[in-house]
Point group: C2
């Protein structure tokens, strides 16, 4: 049997699967030449790359079912892929697997302004939903930084968040229904327009399941009215600890800002020359706090937030007076990742979540780790919901720096878990954080995840080896979460 060393799959196996796929799909829906499959070898986590055996691009739900049937019959792993903007390697191909891209399932089925919902195919871009809803003064709230490019199918797979999720929730809070093609060849609909649905709440399980349970073929999202107005406060702080405490104070005052973001000095100095957002680059940290709603609500909330921030020790406060000014304040935050790319050859964007009261402690811990690992780290994050995005700056061409960045990242996540947080806020586990899952969860919890995975995918063909580590893997990694009251990892791995 011929094996293509450069690709990792057997050519005869590729021919077999290709023939089966071409029997049920038009040729334009199947890519197998290396030059065609190359663009699919990684997602936004470009440090990990793997050429897939075959890429499929179905046009219809029936074609999705046909692809799944071929893969089930020939026992071929399937890696679903949205726009490929994911940051945790969830769409990283498998050497002997098929990538199923939802790019061509890109139709907006309908916008129902009265019921305040939109029905869209998975390949519709996040921002395109809000554009389609705009004539009705409605929009789709979750706004990942990649919203111009990322698609709703990928958002569902990763339970994506964004700047406004503190007030408006993550993808799971804004999706009403999904239609799913299962590996068994069924179409199921989960969720509905009502607040509650009978039966088990499998909608929530699908959202954030990283392609492990089925292929989403249609998504019904909730639309919400565009607020009449919005204003944002930019507050400066002389040290990071005071800034972190100010965040906790805003929330403790009973305010739920439309956005509550923090950037440390490394970040603001990285962004300002590039974006000219007007950031206070002498401040150790700046906070951006947005209020939205009616004019009266916004005026009242801006006044209350200003008072809390002043009381918490802000050294300067500016409030946007026009929509243009508001957009300018946000432009720096939204461009933090590209700015990191300008000052550093490579960066590694982390995504951990911690209790808000631990913000100051974790920021201090990350500063210490910069010394230990000999790398700089810019901190940009959704402070209001405790979701950190440390950007570890490194140069992959310097021997050892990539490995140090990985170790730095794992240490940050372990610190998040140690203070009572989690290893992901909105980017998912994917390939990147699979070992950290062993730190986060106990044996029985991982077993529960696998039991549900098996319920939908008995042969383990859907995005295998992503998102949930096997107990065997955790044993090899040498770590397993043990804490008071939880049962320790005991006996042989079952998986």
């Amino acid at each position: 049997m011929l094996t293509a060393a450069s690709t990792g799959f057997s050519l005869s196996r590729q021919q077999q699967v290709l023939a089966a796929l071409l029997a049920v799909l038009p040729a334009r829906c199947v890519l197998s030449a290396t030059e065609d499959t190359r663009p699919y070898e990684c997602d936004g986590l470009a440090a990990y790359r793997q050429l897939p055996m075959i890429v499929t691009l179905p046009d219809t739900e029936q074609q999705v079912l046909a692809i799944l049937q071929v893969c089930r019959e020939l026992q071929v792993p399937v890696v679903p892929r949205g726009a490929g903007t994911g940051l945790s390697g969830g769409a990283l191909p498998i050497a002997d697997g098929v990538v199923l891209s939802t790019a061509r399932l890109n139709r907006i089925v309908r916008v129902d302004a009265y019921a305040r919902l939109a029905v869209v195919q998975p390949g519709v871009r996040n921002l395109a939903i809000s554009e389609a809803a705009a004539p009705h003064a409605l929009y789709y709230a979750p706004d990942p930084s990649s919203q111009i490019a990322c698609t709703i199918g990928g958002n569902v797979a990763e339970n994506s968040g964004g700047v406004h999720c503190l007030k408006y929730g993550l993808t799971v809070h804004n999706v009403l229904r999904v239609r799913v093609a299962t590996i068994d060849g069924d179409i199921i609909e989960l969720g509905g327009e009502a607040l509650d649905a009978p039966g088990l709440d499998l909608l929530a399980v699908f959202i954030g399941s990283e392609g492990m349970l089925g292929i989403v073929t249609e998504v019904t999202v909730r639309l919400i009215p565009k607020p009449a107005t919005a204003r944002v406060i930019m507050a400066s702080f002389d040290d990071v600890v005071t800034g972190g405490n100010a965040v906790a104070n805003v929330i403790a005052a009973g305010i739920i800002p439309a956005g509550l973001e923090m950037m440390d000095q490394t970040s603001s100095r990285m962004v300002e020359p590039f974006v000219k957002a007007g950031y206070d680059i002498d401040a150790a940290a700046i906070l951006l706090c947005e209020a939205d709603g009616t004019h009266a609500e916004v005026a009242e909330e801006i006044a209350r937030m200003t008072s809390v921030l002043e009381g918490a020790g802000a050294s300067a406060i500016a409030v946007s007076n026009t929509e243009a000014e508001r957009m300018r304040f946000w432009s720096g935050r939204k461009n933090a990742f590209p700015a990191a790319g300008r000052i550093s050859p490579d960066y590694y964007c982390m995504d951990g979540t911690i209790p808000r009261k631990k913000l100051a402690e974790v920021l201090t811990g990350i500063a210490r780790m910069e010394q230990t690992h000999g790398l700089r780290c810019a901190n940009v994050f959704h402070a209001g919901d405790g979701n950190l995005h440390p950007l570890i700056l490194f140069d992959a061409n310097v021997p050892g720096e990539f490995e140090r960045a990985e170790a730095f990242g794992a240490d940050i996540l372990a610190l998040c878990v140690a203070v009572g947080g989690t290893i992901t806020g909105e980017h998912g586990v994917g390939m990147e954080k699979i070992n950290s899952m062993c730190v986060q969860f106990a044996r029985a919890e991982l077993e529960a995840f696998f039991a549900v995975k098996r319920a939908f995918d008995p042969h383990g063909l859907l995005n295998p080896d992503k998102a949930i580590p096997t107990l065997h893997r955790c044993a090899e990694f040498g770590k397993m979460h043990v804490s008071g009251g939880r049962l320790p990892f005991a006996g042989l791995p079952r998986f």
Copy 2:
């Protein structure tokens, strides 16, 4: 083998299970005499009764695990029970089964005002959580009518709602974490304090799972700040259709009231002599619309709602000016069920959810069904979220009336499904609506539910035959949901 005809279980089997339970539990935690188990023979759906073989009342999580171990080893069905206030028969005992009551797991573990959460055992009453949080000006939002008696464990099992769920969400939106004893003998923790958690979102699956997946031993709930003020509008309408359309108009105007309830004339006339809430009993329907928040927010929202209601054709509008008046306006709504008990020997409370725009159509349909079934029906409901609670009035002592009430109820649920709604809003499926599940779901969806059920309960011991009908049952019932694009029920039932 001796069989007790009056109970439905074998006495020797009872002795066997009893001996095994007494070997691991103190005697005070186990009830087996008929006079002791009699109070557990039904829940709030008193039309269905069954004496259990044994009742257990564990004091600790370890005892919960011990009970589950005995039941697993002897293959005894387990029916979990909270306060027994459920309205769908979810806690109806099984003849040869053990009832596991969480009544003694009633400790408030801690209230963390800073993190805005409370950690409580499942037997803590819903209202007791808000009482414990009150010194911190916080409260727990979901407020079922039974909140003085019902417990958080039962709320989790049924995903309970309440008057304020339109704005603040159901139980699933207000629980951060559950700790669960599994039938396999593990303790797992699902969810967390962060907005998102890695791994599959099994927290949502447990909430509303009606005791089919495991026994909740600890619940972490979100607390929210008590609003500074609240006011409620009472609006009268000359006909039900106009009232129903007014509800849709309020929501379409972009307002999310803290409560939006509707009562028809049958209900207000039923309640008013009993409660003296000041209801307009000449109106065909009244709406109660509440605004809460800061004084400015409430003033603005009351003005906007008044304007929408007037525009929608309200014949009279009153607004509460004091907290006492607000409580009085609500007292009628909150006492609708007891009031039904005063004017009718029996009543059957339905719980279906429909798209708001179908309110008028469904109310007209129910009025027609009153003629067909020869029974009266009072309509009281969470209009804002389309959650109907028709109260079918009947007398069980009149031959045939119970059966007519059941048929009336099934017709209402079928109408809910036909207009795009669901068969339950917040009361669960339990025993009561299990046949209606065959109308609601397609084969593949029921199979998905069972697959997840089996993942947690491979031997089917946890509250079997509740909440999800077997395909066999649906085949016997003679109905199975079939709709455009869904796959029809084909082949033999697998379960």
